[in-house]
Symmetry: C2
Subunit: 467 residues, 2 copies
């Protein structure tokens, strides 16, 4: 049984005044306004203060909800029911602690905003490759806690792949100093990767050693109009055969996303006079001596020759390349303004994607008058598959079909050996789905580990596993 973070509990905390923040509305809601939480915000200013806070929560059996940038989409940062939690924000721990340039390592507080880390890397002519739409507000702790993905996973891996070491505070307040900066370290179990992606249920990440990469010498981008998702996949194989790891991103877009932008805004420039049904945004980063433009021209010729693409625009400047990316990154905002019935962040074995898209459309059509915007990180097999009301209709009209839509898509994903959460995590929103679809042995292993590391269940209760 957990207890409220009430005035009495707060008054007993051995923390400086600065740690007690006003619990404003911003901490209690999430980007799409679908959940509303409760709790009392505490923002420790150091790892030691996090440790003291957790020890007190452990002793009093008070739940702790880690709050990072607040950009998560699965309610991992919002606790609606149960005892009133401490909302633990690391916004006061937002410094780059150290930069080891010759090692290509940056050590950051978990409260660092992603864009600040990207900038610190760029300032010394390096790349921190994690990149996603919310990078201006998402913080490192949450990005690692949820193993965030984004647009560069194809080339550089997800958040997990960027981490060399972690500092974390466990449920009982013990500090794990695992903030090494080694490329190779086989001394026991991989606790780092266990904490990454555990969504704050096994420990609170307070710092991270992050790996920096060399910046590609030359970059370029193009958008090709392709005949079908299968053609997009064949194009991916073609470009990988041509420049291997030089493909930084390979994003699928459907006309529906641009139609939503035209209908509901915000306005973006699109490169085609007439919107193609299917487009791919290809981003290349190549070593000196190679030309992305030439590579993309060669690719386009080969793609037309192989009957994969029928139109294409190659960015002729960095500004135009950024325009392509702005279009891609604005699609989610168009979706939000339109208002989906149900959104899905799924991954599918690459070769099954065309069948998934076709079969998904068939099954959704059976459910009623709905529109689908299917787009995303095709190179990773990760699609954002969102279902919307028919033209002129509102999502409220579909309220009683929401769970059926979700179930239809997730059942299909499961049949096809895919994942019901490719990059967003489980949070509280997908706990039931995980319980339904996950391998039973996996669930029992996770429960055993949770019980071993947080026996009272104070860390982010109700996330990933049912309480």
């Amino acid at each position: 049984m957990l207890n409220d973070a009430d005035d009495d509990f707060l008054s007993r905390l051995d923390l400086p005044d600065a740690a007690f923040r006003e619990t404003t509305e911003a901490y209690l809601k999430e980007p799409r306004g679908r959940y509303h939480g409760k709790g009392r915000v505490i923002a420790p200013g150091s790892t030691d203060e996090v440790s003291r806070l957790l020890r007190a929560c452990h002793e009093a059996a008070v739940p702790v909800v880690p709050y990072s940038g607040g950009t998560g989409l699965v309610s991992g940062q919002i606790m609606e029911s149960g005892a009133k939690p401490v909302i633990l924000s690391l916004e006061r721990m937002s410094e780059v602690r150290a930069l080891h340039l010759t090692e290509n390592v940056l050590v950051a507080d978990a409260g660092c905003i992603l864009a600040d880390v990207q900038k610190a890397a760029a300032d010394v002519d390096r790349l921190f490759p994690l990149s996603l739409a919310s990078e201006g507000s998402a913080r490192i702790g949450g990005l690692l806690g949820t193993n965030a993905g984004g647009v560069n996973v194809l080339r550089y891996g997800n958040a997990r792949a960027q981490v060399l070491g972690l500092e974390a505070v466990l449920a009982d307040g013990t500090v794990w100093n695992g903030l090494g900066r080694l490329r190779k370290d086989n001394t026991g179990y991989d606790l780092k990767d266990l904490l990454i992606g555990s969504e704050g249920t096994l420990g609170i990440i307070t710092g991270a050693s992050l790996r920096l990469m060399p910046r590609p010498a030359v970059e370029g981008a193009a958008i090709f109009a392709v005949h079908s998702p299968q053609a997009a996949l064949d194009l991916l194989a073609l470009v990988q055969g041509q420049v291997a790891e030089g493909v930084s991103a390979f994003e699928l877009m459907h006309r529906q996303g641009l139609d939503f932008l035209a209908e509901s805004g915000p306005e973006v420039r699109t490169p085609f006079a007439e919107q193609p049904d299917w487009m791919v945004l290809i981003d290349l980063g190549l070593p000196a001596g190679l030309s992305p433009d030439e590579a993309l021209e060669t690719l386009f010729e080969a793609a037309v020759e192989a009957d994969l693409a029928y139109d294409g625009v190659i960015a002729r400047s960095e500004a135009q390349r950024q325009e392509f990316w702005t279009m891609r990154e604005t699609i989610p905002e168009g979706n939000r303004r339109t208002g989906s019935i149900s959104s899905h962040d799924v991954s599918i074995p690459l070769s099954s994607i065309p069948h998934f898209i076709e079969e998904g459309r068939r099954r959704i059509a059976k459910l009623g008058d709905m529109r689908i915007n299917c787009f995303g990180h095709l190179g990773d097999g990760n699609l954002h598959y969102n279902v919307f009301p028919g033209p002129g209709r509102k999502r409220e009209e579909y309220a009683n079909q929401q769970s059926e839509v979700k179930r239809t898509i997730h059942d299909l994903v499961h049949e096809m050996e895919g994942s019901i959460s490719a990059e967003h995590g489980i949070g509280r929103a997908k706990v039931e789905d995980l319980a339904r679809y996950a391998d039973p042995t996996k669930l029992s292993m996770m429960r055993a580990i949770k019980q071993a590391l947080d026996p009272q269940g104070i860390l982010n209760p109700g996330v990933i596993l049912e309480t």
Copy 2:
């Protein structure tokens, strides 16, 4: 308390005759002949047979030692004391289960030999990049269990980075089917990476989904004579600035290793008339349109200009490239024939390596007449730091100094925030060292996880953690 795998226990096992192998000497000793084990070899022919075996061991509290290729150097596969274990070999599960070419995925039994997986990938024009000296006998299960490293980690990551999914049998015989082939899957804790590197103490890996890579279009290699380890590091930065991820391997070699080969064999061709003190072997893999030879020539000029290198040989054919690699890969055999007092597989933060090498030499010199062969995967910060008898003397003469030598080096590594096991693992040989140097919170987390997943402690007892 654990019980012997005695005749009575074996007679009760519900397994086919083929699973009962003769317990030959090969299963009881290790490459350098330093440990001698005991036990009864069982080789199940399927995941289901592994499951039945483990359930029986769990019920009877009989220990299980997983035996893969038998090439491990830290006695993880050799149990000398305690109850007589089942030696679990997966040699009968050695098939490639499936090849998903458009997905660049290969699914293998854990008993597959690494060279066979490499060949299966090469046969379809792909690369399985894990590569190390023992690849002709090491098997996938052991390579993943120990998170093996090797020569291509700089570019492609260690064994962990090659895995998309696992199938494993837990201590109680339960099968975890995690054999997905997704690039992104954020559905709960990262059990895959927890099992990888756990050295058979948390579960028995029976199958793996492995990621294949495109083969570099063109490859090339060179050996440069450099002035010092610091010059080698500066050269690494130079070549990474030039070709970024195009550096596949960057290996440091010291003259001592070649002197041992000259003294004790086996004979190898070396490219320099007079051996330099320090050399680096650089291997490049580049996309079409670039020339490795040109890149290496440009690099050599820049390296001489910057006073980093003073001699160099660029491989003029694939045969000569292979000769360079044969020289590198034969160094461990020269070491074995010479006979080390103490061998160390360490990693150090990259920028501290020159100081480590200098200080290590100073401290070892104080201990007596010894020679040092320091070589390895410089690009990963991973050095094999081996200490040998002085000229004309034998390792037996140093028997009572062995632990002092080891302690001296490991203390230095620990002072410099390095790892006492970069790629070989802990096994039984380094359990005391881990207990001495590891963060106490890390040790207690590991014990809690071990207790949660293998409460009786039947899986590889005495490995990583003291029993």
